[in-house]
């Protein structure tokens, strides 16, 4: 049977334990809006007092309310949402380059070129009409150059953005490795590492927006972090991720230093994946199509123009300087120096004898507009296809953004449901520990009264 002194100890322990409960509740309430904070539950256990069968209570620590499965799903969901969002952002810039609906595309320049040939046919000997052809051809080449340059700049900028992203990934990986070390040390000494784990969790959430992340918990409290299929952090060591250009100009993701291992094919999420998808798939695809259109139009116009005669009687002159290969044609096409500033060089006549009023070649030039190019489609149809293709890509990615964000929000809600702070619960906990604390105080008072009573009786 316990003595009064034991009862005093019991009351003392109860006060300490309930006070701990109040402290943890207060911590939860304090951090109700702290990003990444995981709700704590105080862990109270009974403790035997000596050999007595009646025990007291002790606070053995706290439990972070987490669900590893949901946390992993959140990392994946955030990675996918971030990849879609970055992809969408980059495609919006590409879409703007081809938005004839907003007067920024090259459709009007293409139309203007062929309209100028029509106008030339109506008045082949008119210097103004000839000058208009030169102006329209220059506008077409300049517009193609501007869009081609913008696409090329976007590729370079996205390469830099990928480099910046890997730098951020490495910075976070180093921080996670350091936290792993501190958590391992804390847990080895039996200390509470909840705050450190919250910090690590926050870093992981941030990392998951940059690259696809998978975590494997280790027994010593550390986490093995894998990114793009490669180990990024193991224990207190972090391996650098880097990005370079492959021989075909696409992005190459490398894990480790000194040559490292290429892990590009395993990249599935995060900003880095969005950048790679936008750059290596969409930008390359759109650039190729634009180059082909400009190359085909430029060469078709050149072939016809060279067959005609300028009012100076010269034939065989190209209207454009077109690069020898398709790649880079949009950036490289120029108004030919053979005709630049020389309206007389515009070949409206199809024969030397029909100079200066022959319009046969001007008509043939205008007719290129209705003639299928190498892809079996006319220039206008091909351009419409490019616009439609970009629209499809952007719309599909915008749809993916909505879907991935919905999944992310759903998983975040699941995590919040497990790990978030509910003020309802904390209010109940607050009352619970307060009442228990008051009751323990009452036990203490009762024991005190009993002891006083005992002392008074014995001392009489």
């Amino acid at each position: 049977m316990g003595s009064l002194n034991q009862l005093l100890y019991t009351a003392r322990d109860a006060l300490t334990a309930q006070s701990y409960g109040l402290s943890v509740t207060g911590q939860n309430i304090t951090n109700v809006n702290t990003p990444g904070y995981v709700k704590r539950d105080p862990l109270l256990e009974t403790r035997a007092l000596g050999t007595a069968t009646t025990g007291t209570v002790t606070a053995v620590g706290l439990r972070r309310a987490t669900d590893v499965y949901i946390e992993r799903r959140e990392l994946t969901a955030r990675g996918s949402a971030s990849a879609a969002s970055e992809h969408d952002k980059q495609l919006a810039s590409v879409e703007a380059l081809f938005n004839d609906l907003g007067a920024t595309g090259m459709g009007s320049a293409l139309d203007g070129l062929f309209s100028s040939f029509s106008a030339l046919a109506a008045n082949p000997n008119d210097p103004t009409a000839r000058g208009a052809v030169l102006g329209a051809a220059d506008a077409f080449a300049s517009r193609a150059n501007a869009i081609g340059d913008s696409l090329s700049d976007a590729k370079n900028e996205l390469f830099k953005a990928a480099q910046d992203t890997t730098a951020q990934i490495n910075e976070k990986a180093n921080s996670i490795a350091q936290l792993n070390r501190r958590i391992m040390a804390a847990e080895a000494q039996g200390e509470d590492a909840a705050d450190l784990k919250d910090q690590r969790n926050n870093l992981l959430l941030g990392l998951s927006t940059l690259v696809d992340v998978r975590t494997i918990p280790d027994d010593n409290g550390s986490l093995i972090v894998q990114a793009s299929g490669a180990t990024l952090v193991e224990g207190q060591d972090a391996r650098a991720l880097s990005v370079d250009l492959a021989t075909d100009g696409s992005l190459k993701i490398i894990s480790g230093k000194g040559g490292g291992t290429e892990v590009t094919q395993f990249l599935t999420g995060g900003t880095l994946a969005g950048i790679k998808e936008a750059r290596d798939v969409d930008l390359f695809n759109v650039s190729d199509k634009l180059d082909k259109l400009v190359f085909d139009v430029g060469n078709a116009v050149n072939a016809q123009h060279a067959a005609g005669f300028g009012t100076d009687g010269t034939t065989g002159r190209n209207l454009f300087d077109v690069p020898a290969v398709t790649l880079g044609a949009a950036r490289g096409i120029r108004l030919s120096s053979a005709v630049s500033g020389n309206p007389a060089a515009i070949a409206a006549a199809s024969t030397a004898t029909s100079l200066p009023g022959g319009s046969g070649n001007a008509v043939a030039l205008a007719d290129i507009f209705n003639t299928p190019l190498s892809g079996g489609r006319t220039a206008a149809e091909t351009y419409g296809d490019i616009v439609g293709d970009i629209g499809q890509r952007k719309a599909a990615v915008a749809q993916a953004v909505d879907t991935q964000n919905a999944i992310k929000e759903q998983v975040q809600a699941m995590r919040e449901s497990v790990s978030g702070v509910s003020l309802d619960e904390e209010m109940v906990s607050l009352t619970k520990y307060q009442r228990a604390y008051e009751a323990a105080g009452r036990v203490l008072t009762t024991v005190d009264e009993l002891l006083q009573d005992l002392i008074n009786r014995v001392g009489r």
Partner: protein
């Protein structure tokens, strides 16, 4: 399901953001009347609009070409009309001169008048339009006929693209109208009459009547051909104008927002937004924070 404060706030934010975004999009459509403002709004419609814009641009170019060449075609027709009128007058003179009651002096006077008409005919043959000499073929900078009525141009017709499958010729051959081989040389026929009148050669005058008739018929035929060109231009213009209207209508259908639908949508979404704000306020007001 355990509901936390964070979930409440996230839900409120997410719902309001979604409805606000939809409302903003609907408001923009309703206020601008444009449904497809960028390719991703409706990729199929955007591609169709790009092609329609190109077709419409081509149609406009053809209509513009017709406007430009119509002036010269009308001038050609009226010039040939004036030329044929000259031959009507020549025939009147020839018939009058063939009357045996006229004396040599009267016929010489008539011959002077006919010689003057040759200058007028040359002036008509060398008429200029916007692109140069009308009847010189492609030699638009060279007069079609020299002082003797010798043709200096060529038979190359001016062709323009006006939406037909083959380029349309819009000029009239000066050679065919005035000096066609195997036909009449109208200047020579006029000259013959003038010579016959000057020499008071009654037989030659009678003989010239048929030649004048044939020249007149040749000019009338040429005028008819130029009239056909004008008719062709009119027909093409009519077809192209109709096509232009159709293209604009299709573009409107493909890219414009339905005013009733967009207004209804913006109204409905406005009401939804109001409800969402009210519910959000209620949700946040009933949060546990207020119970402490």
């Amino acid at each position: 399901m355990r509901v936390t404060e964070g979930m409440r706030y996230s839900q409120v934010l997410s719902n309001l953001a979604s409805i606000t975004s939809q409302h903003a999009e609907a408001s923009q459509q309703a206020s601008t009347g444009i449904r497809v403002g960028k390719p991703s709004d409706d990729p199929i419609a955007a591609a169709e609009l790009a092609r329609l814009r190109a077709s419409s641009s081509q149609t406009s170019a053809h209509l513009s070409t017709i406007d430009v060449v119509r002036g010269d075609a009308e001038l050609t027709e009226s010039t040939l009309s004036d030329a044929s009128d000259i031959f009507v007058r020549l025939k009147e003179i020839a018939l009058q001169a063939a009357n045996g009651n006229l004396n040599a002096e009267e016929r010489r006077t008539m011959g002077v008048e006919v010689s003057g008409m040759k200058d007028a005919l040359l002036t008509l043959g060398n008429a200029r339009g916007t692109r140069g000499y009308l009847f010189a073929g492609s030699q638009v900078t060279t007069p079609a006929f020299d002082q003797n009525g010798v043709f200096q141009g060529d038979d190359v017709a001016q062709v323009v693209p006006i939406g037909n499958s083959t380029p349309t010729a819009v000029s009239t051959s000066g050679q065919d109208a005035f000096v066609v081989a195997g036909g009449r040389d109208v200047f020579a026929d006029l000259e013959s009459l003038a010579t016959a009148l000057a020499s008071n050669d009654e037989t030659a005058i009678r003989g010239a009547i048929d030649a004048v008739d044939a020249s007149h018929a040749q000019l009338v035929n040429a005028r008819a051909r130029s009239g056909l060109i004008l008719s062709k231009l009119d027909a093409s213009q009519s077809v192209l104008s109709s096509l232009d209207t159709q293209q604009q209508k299709r573009a409107q259908e493909a890219g414009a927002a339905d005013p009733f639908e967009s207004y209804t949508r913006v109204t409905a979404l406005g009401q939804t937004l109001d409800r969402a704000i009210a519910v959000s306020r209620q949700l946040l007001d009933t949060g546990s924070g207020n119970r402490f």
